[in-house]
Amino acid sequence: MKNQKAAIELQINWIFVMIIGGIILFFFIGVVAKQRGVSEQRLVNELIRDIDQYISGASVAPRGAASLPVPGYDIQFTCDHLQIKNQRSLLESRVVFAPDYVDKEDRQLIVWALPWEIPYDVTNFLYATGPGVRYVFVYEDDKYDDFYYNFVTDKINKIKVPIKDAGRVLDFVDEGSYRTRIVMLGQMEPVQVPAFAKNKDTSFVWIPFFDPREKLPAGEVYFLQYNPTTEEFEPAESKFVGVPSVIGAVFSSSLENYNCAMAKAFKNLHTVNTVFAKKVELLGASQVCPAFYGEYDRNLLAEISAYTEYPGNWQLDLEDLLSKVASLRQRNFLIESQSCPLIY
């Protein structure tokens, strides 16, 4: 009996050791799991910060297309923010055109920036996409070769496809892209996509009238989004101002995102215009070159300012704005020819 008691005491001792051992084991498992989560979060934070900094840099200093390495994370884009996992970075006044997301399998983000001048430098438009997003350019003959080869970067996954006469079906093969953007340039009869591309991952953008060599081309742009109920591509209309906004329409995931980014661009225009309006006031007060900087110049800038006061309404009276912009450009040219201080 006494031996039994001692044996029980020894067993209890071992049970105690095992419980404590278990606690220690769980403690270390917990520490490892937490560290793993923390380092992943840190990686996401650094990645999002790098992309954010690149976008900030590109939005002020134009640069050629570049590929940024992205280690295995989906990047989601909206007009207002970009997101990796649960981490967001607000885009604020930066104008970014991108697909709704860039797949983690792409492992890189292609970014590119172009300045938007109307008539002075306002901001840079930034374009982001992945190699898995396919851009299919469609136009009659070689009418838009200049735009395709000289204006659109070669870094993106782009192809120019002919239209098959029978049923006007586009002739391109399935490469397993997660997004296909069909870009139709110029006036043309409707075209058909191959059966494999007739789904929600395919979308169209159509610009009927457009000359990329014009100083400030403007006109209508149509977004065609696939409707699974009707199994048709349904059109919605917007407008473009300048070649950078045409390219913006090509890169945008939807009409809403395009319009939202353009509204931001007009907000930037309003800001820059406010400073130039004040500059003209100061130049007028200085009495240098009294033939300029008077009511006419002030009114031109005031009208541009009034037009852009509500950036959400940027599509209204666009022709009026463009005529004011053309007048301002002429005026600046005249001032330059007289060797006087420029308006912009």
Partner: protein, 167 residues
């Protein structure tokens, strides 16, 4: 029987003592690790603050509303004095802009352009310090200041763009 019980008690006491030393070592390591990572975090924060100051400097030095243009040529890090003055006045009078788009761009910072040569002069174009900020990171860029009023052609002076970023 008494000896056996005593042996078991000693064994339990040994285990407790070993555990005590073990947890003591773990606690010491944790304290050491925490203080080390705290120092590392502080260093990281300072680095971040510096990066943000550089970012603001990059934005301001390329801002189209103050960048000088002369006969369609844009100078690198060249500011038009009239535009600088105009921006200063706009930010003073238009709260919607100063608290809106410019606050988004410049955050909690103070941006001053100092003319050094030929005569000293300052323009504080943006001033939004953060009360109780842990870091005040200054960043400087040499700039050329273009005076368009001296026609024809204007003239240039030399200055420094100073950004102090608070975080």
């Amino acid at each position: 029987m008494r000896r056996k019980r005593k042996r078991a008690q000693i064994q339990t006491l040994e285990t407790v003592a070993v555990l005590f030393v073990f947890f003591l070592l773990i606690s010491l390591s944790l304290i050491f690790y925490m203080s080390f990572s705290k120092g590392r975090e502080a260093g990281k924060m300072a680095e971040l603050s510096h990066e943000q100051a550089v970012q603001v400097a990059q934005v301001i030095s390329n801002l189209p509303e103050i960048r000088a243009t002369q006969q369609a040529i844009r100078g690198v890090n060249t500011f038009d004095l009239k535009q600088l003055e105009a921006l200063e006045l706009v930010l003073e009078s238009d709260l919607e802009l100063s608290k809106g788009i410019y606050q988004e761009r410049f955050g909690t910072s103070t941006i001053t352009v100092r003319q050094i040569f030929p005569s000293p002069k300052n323009w504080t174009i943006y001033d939004n310090p953060e009360p109780g900020a842990k870091f005040e990171t200054p960043f400087f860029i040499p700039v050329a200041l273009y005076n368009p009023l001296d026609i024809p052609g204007g003239n240039y002076s030399f200055g420094i763009l100073e950004i102090v970023f608070y975080s």
